[in-house]
Structures are given as C-alpha cells and as structure tokens.
Amino acid sequence: MSAVLESFATAFRLIVHADPALVRTVALSLAVSGSACLCAAAFGLASGAWLAVARFPGQRAVLLVLDTLLALPSVVVGLAVYLLLSRSGPLGSWGILFTPAAMVIAQTILVLPIVTALARQVVADALRDGGDQLRSMGAGALASAVLMLMHERWAMATVMLIAFGRAIAEVGAVMIVGGNIDGVTRVMTTTIALETSKGDLPLALALGFVLLVVVALLNVAIALFRRGSSPLAADLR
C-alpha cells in the first residue's frame, strides 16, 4: 500500500514541477491525437452528413461496414498502416514510418469511422425533426447537410470529444507505427505501458492522471462552449 501511495506522491511531484520528460510526452500526445481528430473531422463530419441526406444503391451495405468499423481494433489499424508505410509497402517511399506523421495517419483511420457514424446518426435524427421544413424552404441535399451540421454543432463537438478520447487513450496503433522512440514518438499511453513493464510506476501513474485531466478539461471546455460563454458561440447564435 505504501508503495502505491509513494507512487502517487511522486506522480504529483512530477506534475507540479512540470517534469520535462512528462511535458514532452504530453505535448506529443496532444499534438498527434489533436491532428488526427482534425483530419477525421474534415472528412468524417462531411461524409457523415452526406450519408444522412444521400440516397444511393448499396447505402445499407455502406452503413453496415461503417458500423462494423466502429469496433476496429487499434492494433489492426497499426498493422495495416505499418504494412503500407514500411520500406517494402506501397507508401514506403514516403519514409514516415516511426514518425509522428505515421501516428497521426493511424489514429485518423482509427477515429474516422466513429466521427462519420456518429455525425450521420445525429444529422439523420435532426432531419427526422426538421427535414420537411428545410425541404419546404427550398434546401437541397447539400444545403440540408450543411445546415444540420451547423444546427447540431454542440452534438458534433461532443462527437469530436469522443473521437479525441478514443485517439489519445489508444496504445496499439501508435506503438506499432511510432515505435515508442524516446523523445520522438513516445506518447502518454506507450510510456505508461513501457514504464509499467519496467516497474517505474510513478511516471506511469502521473501520465495516467494527466490523461484523465486532459479529457476532463476538454469536457469542461465543451460544457462552457455549450452554455454559449465563448465568443465563437455568441457569433454562431
């Protein structure tokens, strides 16, 4: 028990004194997962809204595949991206394996189905409520999709929070394509896994605590944003 308490105390000291290794790891994690979420948002929100308004042959099959991809294991994504980016792979010439760029690609693929599927569901629900009204006002499919994304922006912010939570907490994909290189591709989750295996619990605990705090802060930010306290929210009203 005292060993655990001692680990907590050390973790607390590392955080309070902004340990450089800790800060570097947290910053890289935020950069990689944040970039992946931005990429996933650009493609996922648009394609999710489009899937909600479009009608085309094979749509049910596409939705089935999309829903299946929600359970995509991160190690499978890591393996697929590794095969693509490895020297003998089709994108080996890019030379980005074991770099943060490869980690961003892997995490984008991991969270893209989440963003797309949830955005589609939110927009489809909104259209059930107001689709007739928008059609009556002369909105075509594209205009309806854009207006519903705007209408459901708080829900979309929550979707992105869920995606960020999935990205920043995963370990399999970034471990495989990043290689967990100290100071280059070592992020919070891979450090936690490594330090735990080495028996260095304080750093692992500190990172775990930071991980939770980051997600909690994001939740608070979203809540404040929803209450319309930010200038951006006021502008959108």
Binding site: L134, S136, M137, M150, H151, R237
Partner: protein, 241 residues
Amino acid sequence: MTMLPASTLIALRDASVAYGAVQAVRNATMRVAQGDFIAVVGANGSGKTSLLRLLHGVVAHSGSREVLRPAGVQAMVFQRPFLLRLSVWNNLRIALWLAQPDTATALREERAEEALRRVGLVALRDRPARSLSGGEQQRLALARGWAVRPDILFLDEPTASLDPSAKNDVEALLADFAADGMTLVMSTHNLGQAKRLANRVVYMDEGRIDIDLPTADFFGSGTLGRADLFLKGKLSWSLAG
C-alpha cells in the same frame, strides 16, 4: 381535359398519399386559386396535414398535382415550427437565402428586417430562436414564411398549442396577410377560427375531401351529413372510425 380558371395556382386530380399501408389522402380533387383563404377542417387523423403537404409538394403522391405557376413561391408553417439553433435573425436570413439565392444580400436583409417588424420580433432579433416562447416561435415561423413573399402560404394548425393571447396575435397576422392578397391554406381544429378567417372550408373525413364550400355555406347549410356531427362535436371515436 377541363380548362382551369386563370386564377388557379394548384390543382389536384385524384391525388392520393400513402404512408406504407396507411392511406392518408384518398383521391383528392380540388384547386387553390389566387386570393383563397382555405381552412381545412376535420377530425384527428382525417388527413388535413397530409393534404397540406400534398398541395405544397413535399410528399410523394399518386394521381395529378399541377402547379399552374411553376415559378411561384410557396412556403409552409408547420404545427411545430422547426427553428435552427441560431438567432432569430439568422433563421430569417437563412430562409431568405434558400428561397432567393440570387437576390442581393442587402435586399434580403431588408426583407428580413421588414418581416421581423411585421411580427413584432425586432427586439428579439439576436435571441436564440429556440429560447423564444411558443407564441414567439410561431410568429417567427410566420415571419420566415412571409419574408420570402410566397404566392401561397400553407399553415398546419398554426395556433394549436398557443394561449389565447398568442392565438389572437397569430390570427391578426394571418388576417393581415390575407388582406395583402396572399393565398393561404390552413388546417385547423378551431372552427371559430375557420369561420373568422377563411373564405372557403374544406372538410376532410378519413382521407377524403368530403365537402369544399364557401365558408358561409359550410357553416350555414346544416345538411352536411357527418360534417354536421363534426361541427356539433358529436363525431365520436366510434363514429369517426
């Protein structure tokens, strides 16, 4: 083929609407003419809303629906108006942008301002539309419909969930719109409202247009069969089915 009067805006011939196995409108034949204020009345589930949607063209149908002035603008105010989670002002601006994309922005904004003044919501223009009271939301929906200068405005029970004061406000606006020459088609359960506002009454029964008469004739004839029972509030569940 019968020639339609020049004032006709929309004509239905044997038009039907079905939702799966449910036949909501059966073989409707009617026309809407310039300057009409039609009240569509009938029991719950008689097909009033579906008839409005059919006339407006937002529902799939069989039979014929002819729009005699294809370039004419139509708008509809739904029973529960769907307002975007934006300000009152932006809801109006978007409605105008969708209806009149080629109109200059300044002119659209002028029309939005005018619509707000008309329904008395100028002071609330920056408020989130969804934070308005039920009556204010309905007035905003009317402003949104009116702002696009429609040839025909469809209204689906526009005062159904409003208190008497808000109901009076909305009725006054509708009377104003009609006085300006706008063609209105409104479904309502409120027979007094139909009598006060409309110049024609369409009575629907089990998806069929049972009666289509000038208002005075509808309320004065007293020989309308099941419609008489409806007028006297005696069309019970068992009789209605």
